[in-house]
Amino acid sequence: MFDKMIEMFSYPFMVRAVLVGTMVSLCSALLGVSLVLKRYSMIGDGLSHVGFGALAIATAANAAPLAVAIPVVILAAVLLLRISGSSKIKGDAAIALISTSALAVGVMVISMTTGMNTDVYNYMFGSILAMSSSDVRLSVVLSAAVLILYILFYHKIFAITFDETFALATGVRANLYNTLIAVLTAVTIVLGMRMMGALLISSLIIFPALTSMRVCRTFKSVIINSAVISVICLFVGITVSYVWATPAGASVVIVNIAALLIYTVAGAVKNKTFL
C-alpha cells in the first residue's frame, strides 16, 4: 500500500491532481454548506454546465481554457442570483435554463470544430491528466484567495445563511455576500471541473455538507467536518482511481457516497443513544 503511494506521487501529474484536488475540495466543502442550506444545491450543477460551454469555446478559439471559463462562469453565477431574486423566473427553473443552454452551445461548438471525441468525454467526466503546471499555480492562488475570503467573511456568511432578513435589517449587505458566495463558487467549480468532470463537480459542493450535517449540530463543526471529509474523500478517491485505473471524478463521488452512508448510520446511532 505504502509503496503504491510513493509510486503514485512519483508521477508529476498525480502530484498536480492531488494538489489542485485538495484545494478545490476544501473550497467547495466550505461553500457547499451555505449553498445546501440556502437551497441552492443545484447552482453548482448549473455553473459546471456553463463552464463546459465556456471550455468548448475556449478550445475552439485556441484560448487559455481557465482564462475564458472563469469570467464567463462568474458572470453566469451573478446572473443566476439576479434572476432567482426576481419573481419572474424561479431559481430552479433559472438554473435549468442556463445550464441546458450552455450545454447546447458547448456541444454545437465542439461538433463544428473537432467533432465529438475524447475531449468531450474528458470535459464531461473529468480527467486526472487535465492539469498543466501553469493551471496548478493559478488554481492554488485562486483557491487560497477563496479560503481567505471565506474565513474573513465567515460570520457574515453564517448570518445571511441562517436568516437573511435579520441580517439585512441589522445592516449586513446580504446581496453583496450572496454575490461573493456565487463568485467564489464559480471560481471553485471552474478549477475543479476539468479533473472531476462537468457532470460530477457539483458532488463536491453537496456531499461533504450533507454528510457532516448527519452528525454535527453546530455551524462551525459542520464547516470543519465537511472540509475534513471532503479532503479525505478526494484523496481516497484519487488513490482508488490510480490503483484500479478508474476515472478520477467518478471514484471521488463513489467515496463520497460511502462517507455519506457511514455518517448517516453514525448519526442515527448517535441520536438514539443520546436522546
Binding site: 440556502k38 435579520f166 449540530r217
Partner: protein, 236 residues
C-alpha cells in the same frame, strides 16, 4: 424626541399602495402593538421600519440616537431554519454583527454581551444545543436574545407567538414586558393575538391601509373601532 416617527407615509408593494397617509410614533419605553387584519399592510410596514423598503411618500424619522441597523428585529421563522445546524450560542452571537462593521471577528465584549442576553432570557444552559432541536418557545427566546444583542433601544417583533401554546405564549409576553420595563427597551409588536395584546401594550396602532386608530391602549378600549374589533375577536 421619539425613537421612531412616521409622518404621512405611503408604502407601495409591487406597484400597489398598501399603506397610505400613516402617521404614528414610538417613544422611549413604549410598548406599541400593531393590529389589523391579514393584508392590512402590517408586514410591509415592518419592512419599511427596518429600512428594507423606502416609503413612496412621507418620512420615517429615527430619533434618540437610534440608527437604522440598531433595531432588534425578531422575524417570523423561515423554512431554512427548520433543519439548520447551528448552536444557540452561534445564533445569539450573530446579533452582534451590526456593531462589527467591516471587522471580521467578534471580540470578547461581543461574546460577553451574547452570554448576558442568554442569561437574561434563561437560555444559558441551552448554549451548546442545536437550534433546530429546541421547542417553539425556546426558539423564540433564542431569536429574542439575538435581537437584544442587536439593540439597546428598540425591539421589533413580527407575530412572535405564532404556533406557540397558550402557556408558553403567556411566558413569552411576560418576558417581553420585563425587558420593556427593566431594560427600558421600547417594544413594537405586530400581533394577531388581540386579547393578550390589550393586556400588555401601552399603545395600539390599528392598521387598515391607514391608521384606523392610534393612541394608548386605554383609549382604544373605549373607542368605537376598538370596541368593534375587540368584541368581534371575542366572539370567534
Amino acid at each position: 424626541m421619539a425613537l421612531i416617527k412616521c409622518e404621512n407615509i405611503s408604502i407601495a408593494y409591487e406597484g400597489q399602495t398598501v399603506v397610505h397617509d400613516l402617521s404614528f410614533q414610538v417613544g422611549e419605553d413604549d410598548y406599541l402593538c400593531i393590529v389589523g387584519e391579514n393584508g392590512s399592510g402590517k408586514s410591509t410596514l415592518v419592512k419599511s421600519l427596518l429600512g428594507l423598503k423606502a416609503p413612496a411618500k412621507g418620512k420615517i424619522i429615527l430619533g434618540d440616537g437610534l440608527s437604522q441597523n440598531e433595531i432588534g428585529y425578531l422575524p417570523q421563522q423561515t423554512d431554512v431554519q427548520k433543519d439548520f445546524p447551528a448552536s444557540v450560542y452561534e445564533v445569539v452571537l450573530s446579533g452582534r454583527l451590526n456593531s462589527r462593521g467591516l471587522r471580521p471577528f467578534y471580540t470578547a465584549a461581543d461574546k460577553n454581551n451574547a452570554r448576558e442576553n442568554m442569561d437574561l432570557l434563561g437560555i444559558r444552559e441551552l448554549e451548546k444545543q442545536c437550534f433546530r432541536d429546541l421547542s417553539g418557545g425556546q426558539k423564540q427566546r433564542v431569536l429574542l436574545a439575538r435581537a437584544l444583542c442587536a439593540t439597546r433601544k428598540l425591539l421589533l417583533l413580527d407575530e412572535p407567538v405564532t404556533g406557540l401554546d397558550p402557556i408558553v405564549t403567556q411566558e413569552f409576553y411576560q418576558l417581553l414586558r420585563q425587558i420593556n420595563r427593566d431594560s427600558e427597551i421600547a417594544v413594537v409588536m405586530v400581533s394577531h393575538d388581540i386579547e393578550s395584546t390589550m393586556e400588555y401594550a401601552s399603545h395600539i396602532l390599528h392598521l387598515q391601509e391607514t391608521a384606523l386608530f392610534f393612541g394608548t391602549a386605554e383609549e382604544y378600549r373605549n373607542s368605537e373601532i376598538g370596541k368593534a374589533f375587540l368584541g368581534g375577536e371575542q366572539r370567534v
